[in-house]
């Protein structure tokens, strides 16, 4: 039993934090309010090798473990959840299936540029009629000679408007339901693929999310990722990993809420003393700190299981459930501690409050997490 981070992990945390103070925090408000994609920082993140941390150097990654990536996401999300999300989606949703299921050629062609930040990736799974349940999806991939022809519309695809490549899940055999789904690599610019307008959102506003429309989009057969029929399994394991990343995002958001609340409650004077001297405020702070602590342990533990090659389906779901609900509840408390000013644009807690919510929804809702956890426990 050892709760100490390795030197490398500590170093990455310190470096990402310093990077955030210098580059991310100063533009985080503008990124949220305009909103705009923080392209200048993505370039710098790529220079630091932080877009594909857990993948081998030969594919452009940093060759570190997943926990190191999780720490980086936690730190980025403390400063700017949108930036954290852009990186998390690239690393865990786009790179991961390529790394895990891609052929050597596919890894060289797509994984390497994604890790190096030459382009960003997106994962197109959800549809209007297929969210928590992916089985009823109507996007199809029909074999036609040496090609597949893709048709359908994907919804809520993060990074879509700026993505250089998409991992698309589509039915190759509709009759088989989930077992008839397959995963494909579709480069942006392929005739027949287009993206919709970025959706105006509550939070994560600097991360661009849109529809992906596939209209007679033809891709070569070699762009099948894994085997036909493996789409659901690929999506499942990819989402499991990404859930740890979303937990890390929630953790970072909750940590930031705690930092802001401690600072503000010491500064703010009412009834002739700082409000932090009142027990009502102290209790909120104590609960916040405790739940952040517990969320961090569950998140790191899930990442450790991932790194050890142990099962992490349940652990990832527990981490995400706990961390995301903590983020939502504790950003609410943070706004409460701030009072009226906490609801004003430009106050960090106002942004944190909005950014927290999606962590309970994306890559599987809290309800889906509970089902996954209960299924594992009742098995």
């Amino acid at each position: 039993m050892d709760f100490e981070l390795t030197e490398e992990q500590q170093l990455v945390r310190a470096s990402v934090r310093e990077f955030c103070e210098k580059y991310v925090e100063p533009i985080a408000d503008a990124v949220d309010q305009e909103p705009r994609f923080p392209s200048e920082n993505l370039k710098k993140l790529a220079e630091q090798d932080w877009l594909g941390i857990p993948y081998p150097e030969e594919y452009g990654g940093a060759g570190a473990d997943y926990l190191t990536h999780i720490i980086a996401i936690e730190e980025l999300s403390r400063a700017c959840a949108s930036t954290g999300f852009i990186v998390e989606v690239n690393t865990s949703l786009a790179c991961f299936p390529l790394y895990k299921f891609g052929s050597e050629e596919q890894k060289k062609k797509y994984l390497a540029p994604l890790c190096k930040g030459e382009m960003l990736g997106a994962f197109a799974l959800t549809e209007a009629g297929a969210g928590a349940n992916i089985a009823p999806g109507i996007t199809t991939a029909v074999s036609d000679g040496s090609e597949y022809v893709l048709n359908g519309t994907k919804a809520f695809v993060a990074n879509a408007p700026i993505a250089g490549v998409f991992i698309v899940v589509a039915a190759t055999d509709k009759a088989k339901g989930r077992e008839g789904l397959s995963a494909f690599i579709v480069p942006a610019g392929t005739p027949g693929i287009s993206t919709g307008e970025p959706l105006p959102k509550l939070g994560f506003r600097g991360a661009l999310t849109s529809e992906v429309i596939l209209k007679d989009c033809r891709i070569p057969k070699e762009n099948l990722l894994g085997q036909e029929g493996e789409g659901s399994a690929i999506a499942g394991i990819t989402l499991d990993g990404c859930r740890i990343g979303i937990a890390a995002q929630a953790l970072g958001i909750a940590e930031a809420a705690l930092v802001e609340s401690v600072r503000y409650s010491k500064e703010r004077v009412q009834f002739d003393k700082p409000i932090c001297s009142f027990q009502a405020i102290q209790w909120m702070l104590a609960n916040m700190a405790t739940e952040v602590e517990v969320s961090r342990h569950l998140t790191y533990h899930a990442a450790w299981c991932y790194d050890q090659g142990l099962p992490y389906h349940k652990e990832a779901a527990m981490a995400k459930l706990m961390a995301s609900e903590t983020a939502v509840q504790q950003t609410d408390r943070a706004v409460q501690i701030h009072g009226g000013i906490g609801t004003v644009k430009g106050q960090k807690v106002e942004r944190l409050y909005r950014d927290a919510k999606i962590t309970e929804i994306c890559e599987g809702t809290s309800e889906v997490m509970r089902t996954a956890i209960a299924d594992s426990l009742m098995h």
Partner: protein, 382 residues
């Protein structure tokens, strides 16, 4: 970061689990009902023989020398079986540890081995008074030097195992003029010392097999050398040692919570395979998922605090976080287990009924949840 247990930690965890299965769980309901002292003392003796009375105590004093992480794991496993036995074990460990940390060689040699070996049925921790609960520095019990003896006067309340403990750590005011908390000292008191008397036994909600009594000191004469630690440094000792105790209580609470949820889950598993469809399972699935998630988080928080203690790092805040979180998660787990089981869970004979009563005090003793929050907040606002 490595969540793998060491060989020693695993052996201790497994030994505790085995003991629960074979010895503790089968008699826990009966102990709760009959409060059979002899049976309890028999179990304590067996635990001592297995090395559970000085898990984090040096081998040279008869301890196991396995560290705080092992202590936490053991308390969790034992807590699954019988909270009364477990709390007695936890307090005895705490008493042995405080003597090891601040005692003179003479005191260590004299009192730790009998605590660890089971020669003493248990250790006692006498801090609380009627007017000094969450605020122990407000205590009134006094100790005045008279020749070779300290003379103690006052009453302590809510003292676990007072009826049969072989030695008590007792706090008393030695300097009335000092600033609050700066004039308190700590003593080791044997029940045979003149002027020591065990008072009335409390009737309680839970942990019924573990007796809780008032202890009366009426010109109780304590040899001078039984001063534990530095004169007037007693309050600091209490604060420091309670942090370790909190890991023990939190870990025990986790065990109670896990036992309650495991019981409910197993019943649900059995019933659901025959009855409900996927959709109307969801309410219960949610309760199960939420509780096991909180308990998993509690376990990690407890182990982290214990790990920091083993590393000789600061851990008081982490211990407070772990205690408040684990004991409240465990309370919730017992509550929800009863919800899942319905009337069955509410009746004698169902262990969840006992768990529900036993778990409540874990968020009260060794510092209430509210005190833990104040400790955490104080550290945050430093």
């Amino acid at each position: 970061m490595d969540f793998e247990l060491t060989q020693t930690q695993r052996v201790i965890q497994e030994t505790a689990a085995q003991f629960v299965k074979q010895e503790l769980a089968p008699v826990a309901a009966e102990l709760d009902r009959t409060k059979d002292r002899e049976k309890l003392k028999g179990l304590l003796k067996q635990l001592a023989k297995l090395g559970f009375m000085g898990i984090n105590v040096d081998r040279k004093y008869g301890g196991t020398g396995a560290g705080s992480v092992a202590f936490s794991l053991a308390m969790t496993e034992l807590g699954r079986g019988c909270a009364s036995t477990t709390v007695t074990t936890s307090v005895t460990n705490m008493v042995a540890e405080v003597i090891q940390v601040v005692g003179t060689d003479q005191l260590r040699d004299k009192y730790i081995p009998p605590l660890c070996s089971g020669e003493f049925a248990a250790g006692g921790f006498a801090l609380t008074e009627a007017a000094a609960g969450s605020d122990p520095a407000a205590m009134r019990m006094s100790a005045v030097l008279d020749g070779d003896h300290w003379v103690l006067n006052g009453n302590k309340i809510f003292i676990s195992s007072a009826e049969f403990a072989g030695v008590f750590v007792v706090w008393a005011v030695t300097d009335k003029e000092a600033r609050k908390g700066k004039g308190i000292s700590c003593f080791l008191v044997e029940p045979s010392f003149p002027g020591f008397r065990v008072g009335k036994e409390e009737k309680k909600l839970g942990q019924l097999a573990s007796p809780t009594n008032e202890v009366i000191f009426d010109n109780c004469r304590v040899p001078k050398e039984n001063l534990l630690g530095v004169l007037n440094d007693g309050f600091r000792i209490a604060a420091a040692e309670l942090a370790g105790g909190r890991v023990g209580i939190g870990s025990m609470a986790l065990g109670i919570g896990l036992a309650a949820m495991d019981f409910a889950r197993d019943v649900v598993k059995e019933r659901m395979s025959v009855a409900a469809t996927g959709v109307n399972r969801q309410g219960i699935q949610g309760l199960i998922a939420d509780n096991y998630t909180r308990l998993a988080g509690a376990r990690l928080a407890l182990l982290r605090a214990a790990f920091l203690k083993d590393q000789k790092q600061y851990y008081a805040t982490e211990a407070s976080m772990a205690k408040v979180y684990a004991t409240e998660a465990a309370n919730r787990a017992c509550h929800d287990a009863m919800t899942i089981l319905g009337d069955y869970g509410y009746t004698y004979g169902c262990p969840v009924e006992r768990f529900y009563r036993d778990v409540r005090v874990t968020s009260i003793y060794e510092g209430t949840s509210e005190i833990q929050r104040l400790i955490i907040a104080r550290e945050l606002l430093r």
